[in-house]
Structure formats: C-alpha cells, structure tokens
C-alpha cells in the first residue's frame, strides 16, 4: 500500500490485510508495554487543515505506539481562504523529512492532490477530506463489525452476507461514502437510509440499497449493524441549505429512538462515528446500550491507524508479532 486515499482503492485482499494487521496491533495493546519498535526513527506528520481533535489524537497515539516521531501541523485557514498553499506546506514537510503525511482537509481531493502532484514523495494517509472519504473510519468500523459478527473474531475474513444499515446525512458524509465502498468490497450488504434531500444525486449508482424509510429498512433488512451518522443541526436552517424542516421531525423520522432500537435484531450492533448528537440522530437508550460499540470504535481506531501507518511505512516486511 503506497498511500491510503480512498476506501474504494482497497482490494478485498488489501482490506483484509489491514484488518488482520489491526487485529495483531490490537492484541499488543492489551499488553502492559504497548509500544512497538516498528517505526522507530521515522517521522509521521499530522497535517490538519480542519479541526478534529479526536482523529488527530487517534493518529498520534497510533504513530507513537509504533515508536515513530510525530509532528502535529495544524494549518487552519488553508489556501481555500488564501493562507499558505497546500503546495508550499507540502514542500515544507518534505524538507523537514516527513516519512508519512496524515492529512485532514475540508476540500475533497486534497489528499489526492498531495499524493499525486509531485509536491512530496512520502506516503499520504487520508484522515478525512471534505465530503469525499475517510478511509480509516471505514476500516475501524469494518474491524469492529468483523470482530463481533464473524466467527472467531473474523481473522482472515470479510463481512460476507452481513447486513448494514447506515442512516443520516449521506450527502455531506465522507464516512458514508467510505463505508459503502469498503463494506461492499468485504461482501456486506449496505442500505443507506436518509431523507431524499440528504442523498446525493448519483447515489443510485452506488453498490448499495437506498431507502427513505428507516422503519421499513429495519424491518426488511433485520440488520446486523446499524450506523447512525452525525447530523448537523444547522442543515435545517435556510442558510444551511434547508435540508429538513426541524430537528424534531428529523428525529421522529430518522432517529434511532427506543422503539426502533427495540425493533432491531437482538444481536445488532449500534454504531456511530462520533461525536453524537444525543436526542437528534440517536437516543441515550441506544447509545448507552450494551450493544453499542461507540466507545469500542474509538479504541479500534488506534489499532487500525497503527496498521495503516505500519503498512504504508514498513509494509512489505510482514506483520510484526
């Protein structure tokens, strides 16, 4: 794996390699000494053009547990607002000797530009770009599902035949796009549920089902996992696009309330990429239930990002024990 730009770039074999490597990494994290020497002497730069403390900390922890040096570069006010250009920043990082760049950017495609424009030689890991992709989120979601839903923790397996329902603001969601791509690659059946205003024109060509009716989707799919996407309250105002009439109506039609929670199969996982809007897209009942993997997803995020950094930086030397 040279870069990780999009979940769509991963073959089934590559995706399973990342998940298996992440499982190995996760096993080391229950040891007393969590640190592995795998990336000693290498420098990972976290280049964040958009605030995301959670994702940055997760990548930082992942790099440090592999003994890499970490430089955090917060470049708020990117060239979109005519600050320092992405190109100049990239060349600065190159000069500083970055061995890998983890980039988060509000502009879709910025990681792709960084990786393919000849500005920098280092591998690039996409930590979320605009409305495009967030591949490590999809990997950690798949990792979490596989662990719970597949026999013997899922080592070496995909998610064949598992039914996943993803609910919410698909239009603006890089998490939804990444998950549709990766879950399809791994053999799962995905259903997207959203009000029609929050589905992109063109989504009908994606490898998934689309529904506007959450109750029907739960009843028909009997999902093995349901993933609630964060909905920004400002999307309902006319300045925010006027995508839905009110928070109350959204919650009534698309929220995972107690009744819908009860309607799910008993084994169904309750997932959320965080941060949650309790009472809007998810009820406390669902979020705090013992089937919720929301906190576990955070821990799995570190293991998956360790695997990704390991594979792009030391990839062809086998998995560390």
């Amino acid at each position: 794996m040279r870069h990780l730009l999009s979940a769509a770039d991963l073959s089934r074999e590559e995706a399973i390699t990342v998940l298996d490597t992440a499982a190995t990494m996760a096993a080391t994290q229950s040891r007393e000494i969590k640190k592995l020497p795998a990336l000693r002497g290498l420098t990972v730069v976290n280049l964040f053009f958009e605030d995301s403390t959670r994702t940055r900390i997760s990548f930082e922890a992942a790099a440090k547990r592999l003994s890499a040096d970490v430089i955090n570069f917060a470049a708020k006010g990117s060239s979109v607002s005519k600050g320092e250009s992405l190109k100049d920043t990239a060349q600065t990082l190159q000069a500083m000797g970055a061995d890998a760049v983890v980039i988060r950017h509000s502009a879709s495609g910025a990681p792709h530009r960084l990786a393919t424009s000849g500005w920098i030689d280092a591998p690039v890991v996409n930590a979320g770009d605009g409305m495009h992709q967030h591949p490590t989120q999809a990997l950690l979601d798949a990792f979490t599902m596989r662990r719970h839903l597949m026999p013997e923790g899922g080592a070496g397996a995909g998610l064949d035949g598992k039914r996943v329902v993803i609910v919410g603001d698909v239009l603006h969601s890089r998490v939804a796009r990444s998950n549709v791509d990766l879950l399809h690659t791994l053999g799962a059946e995905v259903t997207l549920v959203a009000p029609p205003t929050l589905l992109p024109i063109g989504a009908s060509t994606w490898p998934c089902r689309i529904s506007y009716d959450l109750d029907a989707a739960i009843a028909e799919q009997a999902p093995d996992a349901i993933m609630m996407l964060r909905v920004q309250r400002e999307r309902m105002s006319s300045a925010g696009g006027g995508f839905f009439p009110s928070a109350a109506e959204y919650s009534r039609r698309y929220g995972l309330d107690a009744a819908r929670f009860e309607a799910l199969p008993g084994h169904a996982l309750i997932m959320h990429p965080g941060p949650m809007n309790r009472g809007l897209e998810i009820s406390a009942r669902a979020a705090d239930s013992d089937r919720s993997t929301i906190v576990e997803q955070v821990a799995n995020g570190v293991a998956v990002r360790m695997a990704v950094l390991y594979l792009v930086l030391a990839g062809n030397e086998g998995t560390p024990s």
Binding site: S78, V80, S85, S108, G109, S117, P200, I201, G202, W206
Partner: protein, 442 residues
C-alpha cells in the same frame, strides 16, 4: 506594404484557388490573382504555397477573457491577441469581467485601443450589462455602444443576470442600438458553492454539484423573455443536453436566440475530474458523455450557432492547489480550431465540414457581434482576414509552448489534428509558418 499571393489553397466549400492580398483586401482570386500580382508595380509580393492547406475567413471569437486591465499576470490584450492570431483568429470579443469592470465607455475604449495598438487581431470589447457586474443596476449600455469601441455585445459573463426584471430591461434596452445580451446562464441559488457537474462523478468525489437545471432554467426563462419583448438573446457556453432541447424549441418557435458551445464542452466530460486536477475546473462545468453528444448534435444541426472559446487564462498558482481553491477556466484560443476539427470535421459520421467550421467560427459569430468586415466570404474585394490551416498536420499540446501568458490548458500532452499555418489580419501576416510575426517582421 507586402502583398501576399497565396497559391493552391482550398476554399471551405472545396474548390482550389489562388488569393492575392493587397492593401488590406482580397484583391483577386483564381487566375486573376497571379496576373494582378505581376502587374502590381512597386509592390513586394510574398508568395505562399498553400497546396494542401484550407483557407478560412479569419476566425472570430465571441467569448475571450483578455484579463486586461487588472490581471496582467494572467494575460494582456497583447499576449491574448497574439495567442489568438496563432490560433487563427482575426477578431476576439474581450469579456467585461476585468478590474475595473468594462462597464463604462472609458474602459471599453481603453481595451479597444490596446487591441488596435497591439495589432494582432480586432478587439471588440464586451460591455457589462450591470454596474460592476453586481446584477443590480444597468450599466451605461448606450454610452458603450456609441463609444469608439462600438460595443454591441453586453454580458455579465462569469455571473448570470439572474434578476428577471433586470434581464428584461437589458434585453429591451439594447434594441435601440442593435445590441445583444449574452447570458451566462447560471441560477445562482442552485449553484452555491458548486465545483463540478452534479451527477454520478460529483457524488463519488464529494464535490458540490452544479446541476444542469441551473443552466436550463435560466435559458428557458430568457428565451421566453426575449420572445415577449421581441429582442435577440445570446446564450454563452451552452453545456447540457437539456439546454440544446430548449434552444431548439425556441428557434422552432421563431424566438431570436443564438447559442455558443466551447471547444472543451465538445470534447471533455466530468470523468476528467476524477484525479481532482484543477485544470479541468471550469464554469459551466464539464458535463457527461450524453451532454457532449448533444452539443455536438446541436452544433451540427444548427441549434447551436457558433463555437466560442471562453479562453480564460489563470496564473499557475491559481491552479496548483486543491480543487476547491482553484480558479475556474481554461485557455482555448490556440486549441479551438484543432478541437473542433477533431470533434466535428474529422468525424465522418457527421455532416460538418470546413464550410460549417467557417460558418460557426467566423461568419456567424461576426454576425451576432455585428462586426462588419469580419467573417466575410473569401472573395475579391473583401477585407483580407484569412487563415490558412494544414488539415493533415498533427501536433501535441505543450502548455509552456502555447503563446498565451498562462498555461492552464486542459489539453496538455494531447495530440490534436489541424494546425494554423498562417493568419492574415487586415492583409498583414500575423502568423507565418505557424509562428507569430513579432515586431518588424510584420
């Protein structure tokens, strides 16, 4: 002044002839040309062997961004018209979105004079429809029309005259001096933050979509407004299949509408954006393969009247960045003829030959812009605006090798057919052997 005796050129309709250019006119054609050249006492006659070349009336572009005044780092009137000459053009219409905006007689006269001084091609300034392109108040259209620049085309290009009342007034007002409003059809509310065509590719790439309906709704409104007030209206850079249908319907109804398509919309699709390369970012955006077929069909059947370049130079720093941050637009003056040749003339399944190219890239744009003396037939007595094209040549586009001051071509490294070998503007060779004739050689 040098006379030019062009021998063995193929006229657009197919016949072979000689042409004598003297004193700014086509002095003679056929066997008369050589006879008269021999009889011209004291004149220096430069003979050009044009066997195998096609002679076209000098090309006329209705939609060019020359960037001066204000963005001379991207292009100047001199550099842009020099590129135009290399592309076979003898007349360009300079769009109004300069700094300051070309919304007064003073600015349009300045641009016109810069063109006259440069001498590469006739520069016809386009006047802004509204003051500062702000879409609120009509600019002094009459003053621009009666200025030395004799403006006949008015456009807020880059922005849409979206207020229907203002558009109606503009359409009515320019009738007094036989002007035309050239509309950049883009409903602003439907395209807030839009970066590319809204469809399958934008959904995957997570780039905010520019829906076809935002163009089509404005065109539908404007053809109906033009019908209501009995005015002519021109549609800039029409890009969707639906727009072609609407214009076809309007023409069948007798509405005085004309439309243009750009070379890039005849050739490229939104699939080009998958690599997030800002060289493919343009407004209106590249559309789908079905739209490309529809605009080619529309150009072939006459629904679309002309090809216009929308030549939009930008300095490299405005393209060497994230897709969202990049400027919109691509250069086109030096590739237009080749792209149209590839998309239309070279396609044997289409009824579109050199005559059609001459009509859509010279005669009709001159007529829409009310440019007398351009786009004329290649006949004795006509002004000597002539372009010689080698239809069998093939060349590879090198952005740094183009004469425009900017390198933002979407056709980099692409091999294209047909090459402009010579351009004559007012009887003067601006291009010979494919090379611009700078300074004293001209």
């Amino acid at each position: 002044m040098t006379d030019y005796l062009i021998t063995g050129a193929q006229l657009p309709e197919g016949s072979i002839t000689d042409l004598l250019l003297a004193d700014g006119r086509i002095a003679a054609t056929g066997s008369d040309a050589a006879d008269m050249a021999g009889a011209r006492a004291g004149a220096q006659v430069h003979r050009i062997d044009a066997h195998g070349l096609v002679a076209l009336p000098g090309l006329v572009d209705l939609h060019t961004h020359l960037r001066e005044p204000g963005r001379e780092d991207a292009e100047t009137v001199a550099s842009g018209t020099r590129a135009a000459a290399v592309g076979g053009f003898t007349c360009v219409h300079a769009m109004a979105n300069t700094t300051p905006v070309a919304d007064t007689a003073g600015v349009v006269e300045q641009v016109w004079r810069l063109g006259e001084d440069a001498g590469w091609a006739q520069v016809r300034p386009v006047g802004a429809v509204t003051v500062g392109l702000a879409g609120e108040q009509l600019a002094e259209l009459g003053a621009m029309a009666s200025s030395a620049a004799r403006v006949r085309v008015f456009s807020d290009d880059g922005l849409c005259v979206h207020d229907p009342v203002l558009m109606r007034r503009a359409l009515e007002y320019v009738k007094a001096f036989d002007g035309v409003v050239a509309q950049h059809a883009q409903e602003p509310r439907l395209t807030a933050g839009a970066l590319m065509h809204e469809g399958i590719v934008s959904a995957e790439l997570g780039l905010t979509g520019w829906p076809a309906v935002a163009e089509e709704a404005i065109i539908a409104r404007d053809v109906l407004l033009a019908e209501h007030v009995g005015s002519r209206v021109h549609i800039c850079h029409l890009s969707t299949a639906g727009s072609v249908d609407i214009v076809r319907w309007a023409k069948a109804r007798g509405i005085q509408v004309t439309a243009e398509v750009t070379p890039h919309h005849l050739m490229l699709t939104d699939e080009a954006i998958r690599g997030y390369d800002p060289q493919f970012k343009v407004n209106p955006p590249l559309r789908t393969a079905e739209d490309v077929q529809a605009v080619r069909d529309g150009l072939e059947d006459g629904t679309i009247d002309i090809v216009a370049t929308d030549h939009a130079p930008h300095p490299s720093e405005d393209k060497d960045c994230e897709f969202a941050a990049a400027a919109m637009g691509m250069t086109g003056l030096e590739t237009a003829l080749s792209v149209v040749t590839e998309a239309m003339v070279a396609d044997d399944s289409r009824d579109f030959g050199w005559q059609d190219l001459a009509r859509t890239m010279s005669a009709t744009p001159a007529r829409i812009g009310r440019v007398t003396g351009q786009g004329r037939p290649l006949a004795a007595g006509e002004p000597a605006h002539v372009t010689l094209v080698d239809p069998s040549a093939r060349w590879t586009v090198d952005p740094a090798g183009l004469r425009t001051a900017s390198e933002n071509t979407p056709f980099a490294a692409r091999e294209l057919p047909a090459r402009v070998m010579a351009t004559f503007y007012r009887g003067v060779a601006t291009v010979l052997d494919g090379q611009p004739q700078d300074g004293s050689t001209r």
